[in-house]
């Protein structure tokens, strides 16, 4: 069982932290993990993405041909990465920012009103954490403790 999750969005949305938190949790669960951030010259305001691969087996490439899960925090990320998602893969959209829907019909879609959910728990800045959590809620790799 191998799961590759691609987190993508604007720099500043906490995209890299989402991936890091997932990686950390998975490591503590005893899984093999690779976390690969795509880094740019700009520190803020540019695009950011990272690929987290989780597996019970040893992981070969930290670079994924096709992610099983795409976590898109903004529209450009959806546009860019939607075509790369595997068939029957999962796309988790930040519906607070993305009004459009994926054009593909061979994927599962989860629309998360990230900002509104975060506001409910008291901090808009926690949006990435809520969103990251939703992305794994349907996954088979990590589960919340009962």
């Amino acid at each position: 069982m191998i799961t590759r999750t691609l987190f993508a969005g604007f720099g500043g949305q906490g995209v890299l932290l989402m991936g890091y938190v997932l990686s950390h949790g998975a490591m503590h669960k005893g899984l093999n993990v690779t976390y690969f951030p795509a880094y740019g010259a700009e520190m803020r305001g540019g695009t950011a993405n990272c690929t987290v691969t989780l597996s019970e087996e040893k992981i070969a490439s930290p670079v994924a041909s096709n992610p099983d899960i795409l976590v898109a925090m903004n529209f450009p990320s959806l546009l860019k990465f939607e075509p790369t998602v595997v068939k029957q893969g999962l796309v988790v959209l930040n519906s607070s920012l993305i009004e459009e829907s994926p054009s593909r019909t061979d994927i599962d879609l989860l629309q998360v009103p990230t900002v509104e959910l975060a506001r409910e728990v008291g901090s808009e800045r926690a949006g990435n954490m809520g969103h990251g959590g939703s992305s794994q809620g349907q996954g088979k790799v990590l589960r919340t403790q009962p």
């Binding site: 890091y20 990686s23 950390h24 490591m27 093999n32 993990v33 690779t34 976390y35 690969f36 951030p37 880094y39 740019g40 010259a41 070969a60 490439s61 930290p62 670079v63 994924a64 041909s65 096709n66």
Partner: protein, 363 residues
């Protein structure tokens, strides 16, 4: 005691491993994509009473390394491609003066300022000397965070054993990727190799001089022959490599570092399709593990070389195998990191021999 399992970035892994391997002196100049390493060590050296200096340039930094090494310190520097070019002067001098040090190169795209993405276009520079003169630098190529930690220890020990600069050659991806790591235990500084050649003041002994200028009749000639003996010994004793699925393979992929990780995924995918692909991963780039590879590359097997550049290591493959096997090459330049699927296309093409992806090397 080894450390607990920690999730760490490749650059930081090297920094922690260096400290655990007894390195107490670091000199370097910032350059992306390895800045996390000097940042990490600037704090870590304070913890362990070591020295961290952000030099005014790569040139100054490598010469601080030279001085600290001559003084007997376990010392390292780090940089990325353009900065490594600047360090070549000092590396050549250290080769000539037989001074140990560890040099980290997290390669980025070139030539010139290039870009800051992962690339592997400095294989020639790393393995062919890089600076002026008839010398070689041992080069270790890790392919993951755990190996970054382990090879950092190996690099320091090799440097001291052979009194030579040793390069750890990663790339932007190796510097940035995070994976769980278990670090080996701290070396007790008392257990570091004793050095009877260092400069520490001539109390109770004759003064020593360390230099690379040899003007006397025949002196440089003999010095070069002595160095060559050392390089021959390294070539005979230090070749390192890893193989996967090579026993039944019809095609052997040759790749190192990040490229090897991508190639391994491609291999796994193609094995599921029924293609008998094996992987040969050089861990020492100089010395290139020719002996082991020559053994593998026969009986009609095809050799498929994959690099994150337009073909540098492939020359060592050709030198190792010659006409004994068909050799194919696929490379991606400019800091573009191909996916396993793209490498799989290359390998399918090699299997069919249709030449659609990559090219056949004319030996």
């Amino acid at each position: 005691m080894p450390s607990e399992k920690m999730l760490m970035r490749g650059s930081n892994v090297v920094g922690e491993a260096a400290v655990r391997a007894g390195c107490r002196y670091y000199f370097g100049y910032p350059i992306t994509p390895q800045n996390e390493l000097p940042e990490y060590l600037s704090a870590r050296m304070l913890d362990v009473g070591g020295t961290f200096i952000q030099g005014e340039s790569e040139v100054a930094s490598i010469n601080m390394v030279l001085g600290a090494s001559a003084a007997g310190g376990r010392v390292m520097t780090s940089s990325s491609s353009p900065g490594i070019s600047l360090k070549q002067e000092g590396i050549s001098y250290m080769a000539g003066m037989e001074l140990p040090a560890v040099i980290i190169n997290m390669m980025r795209g070139g030539p010139g300022l290039g870009n800051i993405s992962a690339s592997a276009a400095d294989y020639y520079q790393a393995t062919r000397g890089g600076g002026h003169g008839d010398y070689r630098t041992p080069v270790l190529a890790p392919a993951g965070c755990q190996e970054l930690a382990e090879l950092t220890f190996v690099a320091f020990d090799m440097a001291d054993k052979y009194r030579s600069p040793v390069m750890l050659l990663g790339d932007g991806l190796m510097g940035q990727v995070m994976e769980p790591v278990i670090f080996p235990d701290f070396i007790d500084l008392k257990d570091l190799p004793k050095k009877d050649w260092i400069l520490n003041g001539c109390e109770g002994r004759e003064p020593r001089a360390i230099f690379s200028m040899l003007l006397g009749q025949g002196e440089l000639y003999h010095h070069n022959l002595d160095l060559q003996k050392k390089y021959d010994q390294i070539t005979a004793e230090e070749q390192r490599w890893e193989t996967k699925n090579t026993d039944d393979a019809d095609i052997i992929v040759v790749a190192y570092g990040t490229a090897a990780r991508i190639a391994e995924s491609a291999m796994n995918d193609l094995r599921a399709e029924g293609l008998a692909i094996g992987l040969f991963r050089p861990i020492t780039l100089w010395p290139f593990p020719s002996t082991a590879f020559r053994e593998l590359a026969q009986n009609g097997r095809k050799v498929a070389v994959f690099e994150l550049c337009l073909g540098q290591m492939v020359e060592d493959v050709v030198l190792s195998v010659g006409e004994r096997a068909e050799i194919y090459f696929y490379g991606v330049p400019g800091g573009v990191i191909p996916t396993p699927a793209e490498v799989a296309d290359f390998l399918r093409s090699v299997a069919k021999g249709d030449g659609e992806v990559g090219r056949r090397i004319d030996v």
